[in-house]
Amino acid sequence: MSLFKNKQDSASQLSGSYKKTKFSLSTVSILAIILALLFVILSLATDKFLSVNNLANLARQTSIVGIIAVGMTFVIVSAGIDLSVGSVLALGGIVASMMMRDGYSIILSIVVAIVVGMVCGMVNGVIINDMKVTPFIATLGMMTIIRALVLLITNTNYISPLPKSFIAFAAASYFYIPTLFLIWIVIVIAAFIISKYTMLGRNIFAIGCNVEAARLSGINIRRNTYAVYIIIGALSSFAGVLTAGRLATGLPMAGYGYELQVVAAVVVGGGSLFGGEGTIVGTLLGALLIATIGNGGNLLGVNPQILNITIGALIIISVYIDQLSKNRR
């Protein structure tokens, strides 16, 4: 289109009267600095913190919540929430454990478990998008239903034995790095690529920021809503499989209360429950920060309730700081 003869110097326009760029740190860099400081302090204050064993343990603990938090980042960016993750985790773990116990191959068991998780996500998506139930209520209901199903299926018993190779895989390390952590990092990289380089990433942000503007721009709201809940369903279920491997059993009460830890990681990482804001790297750091406070506190012998108070305050403060910077604009 041959628009515009009144071409002005675009370079001058772009810099022109806007030189007052404020010096401000992004959420991600603030988190990285705090985390680094915490690492330094803890390694000086305790002998154990920097030991291979402790760090591997910390990494394993964080990975399960961290994997789900990746999915939760997409959900929260799209202005939704998924409270059913803990129950889906249990379901995935149980499904894979039962199949392995009954002699199916490990790979097949994992795939089926993931598919089951995706179906749970799809159901969440349908309730939210098509039945117009708010995400909080929809997934609260699903959380209760799925947990009850798990207890019905297992008759409240744990599932064992699991194949030795599967248990060994979950406990293994490569060059001192636990497999669980490596899996988490692979998922983080994939999610980072989705959020930065794909249409899905752009659409999720647009929907979370302004669903009506997104709809009027021709974005398929239904398809994208399904996508985010299917992704988190798959990740929760897969996290359940890994939990079963780590514990060497399928536990019907696995993942109980995880939804709050997962949401906390995303929120501390800069995600906004109003939608449109949040980053994968922020969530990664948020999950690590919360876990490190817990781990370090334990090593220092801090009362666990004091640690919980600290983590609760951290959640509130990180959102408060975010609000402050917004109001200043």
Partner: protein, 526 residues
Amino acid sequence: MSVPDINCSGTDNWNVNTLKGDLMNENGKVLVQMLNIHKSFPGVKALKGVDLTIKKGEVHGLVGENGAGKSTLIKILMGVYSNFDSGEIYIEGKKVEIKSPIQASKFGLAAVYQDVHLANNLSVGENFFLGKIPRKKWGFVDWRKINRLTSEVLGGLDLNIDPKIPVKKLSTAEQAMILIAKIIHQESKLIIFDEPTALITKEETEQIFKLIKKLKEKDVGIIYISHRLEEIFEICDLVTVLKDGEEIKTISVSETDKDSVISMMVGKSIKSAYYLKERELGETVLEVKNLTKDNEFKNISLNLRKGEALGFYGLVGSGMASIAKSIFGGMNYNSGEIFINGSKVKIKSPIDGIKNRISFLPEDRKNQGLAIRLDVSTNINLASYKNISKAGFVNLSKEKKNALKYIDALSIKTPSIKQKVINLSGGNQQKVVFAKWLCGNSKIFIFDEPTVGVDVGAKFEIYKIIEEILKSGSSVIIASSYLPEIIGVTDRTMVFYEGECMGCLLKSEYNEEKFLNLASGIKSAN
């Protein structure tokens, strides 16, 4: 204009004043007087020395086109704009300064706007006493008193509404009447009605009029703003006509008629900031037949030619915005057919609209047009990611190229393509929405109030963009309630009133009077 008697006993209680009203001289009956009010906004003089005098028990109509200064005047009186340039306000002869809406209500001034705000889930009675709920001992709510008093007040106005039912179960008109009743109960001296009938039916309008007549008997002064002249002539005693921030005339309705009021609103000159150049029009690209949506619009038919700018003109409640949105697929219609380049198409969603190369710029930029917390680049590409992606992956260099191209082409002032749109000015935000659709390869552009909330300079630039779109062989529909825009930037205009097309004017027939007649529901515009 006579200056009111400053010594008049303005401190007296209003009820006492009404009792001795007959004994007072002419000045005593004057309730509110605004003298020589000037108010300017950056770049515009909104009011240039307006006078307005309201007497007790008088219904005073206030008319004028959009932008004539009606709402500015009212907002000054209600304390919303306390920083007007110059002028004086007297209430019952006493000079006052109204610095806030709260102060205005202390002076006994109240306003009913077209969008009524009540607490929907609470009962009628609770709404009635909101903020000062009567209590019994121990702080318990005195429900009996609430319901009794509410019934009494409503009954006194011949309104049969149960004070216990939640407000959300009432019709819009009933809600408006609850609000009016509440205002009456507060013993307001002056009530302003701002387009009270825009969103309600004819029968409901009659009910509101009944209430206004009751208020009149109680010596309350009333300012009545409406685009519907027949209402002005039915209910008002006097009418003041504003145009371009000036008071044209205040006249008794019995001494004038609709035609003369319209010609006063129009004035002599038709000024427009912009004129489209002549273009060759091509074949028909869009045809709409009998488009109907219940309670919104009915039997709308139109056709649009290649390179043509078709205007939609109408006032509040005309339904033109819904029609514009429906053609794009942003709103569902009940029946009717749409043809693109001669073949029938199904448009059920914006996705269908975009597939048929239609684009739609909504009136409400912040809530419908932009993801304002995202950056300029994402917003510009928002409707075109399908075109610049392969297997779901966005081509980043094409994304950046698009953003830079349209920032440059539309002179969007932004420090970078990564700037969040929320930090841009209104005009630049609107240009980002334009860029989004230019980027998307549309052939038919539907603009709903394309220059709302945009300053004069940016307005001109937007008209230029529209002209470029037309030159490139695309077609445009512009829905606007701003007449100079319609006159300057369209070739042909359909005028709507209450969801129906009242007529279509060609450019050669453009005349403000004709537009206003049709838009006010008067079909016989000679």
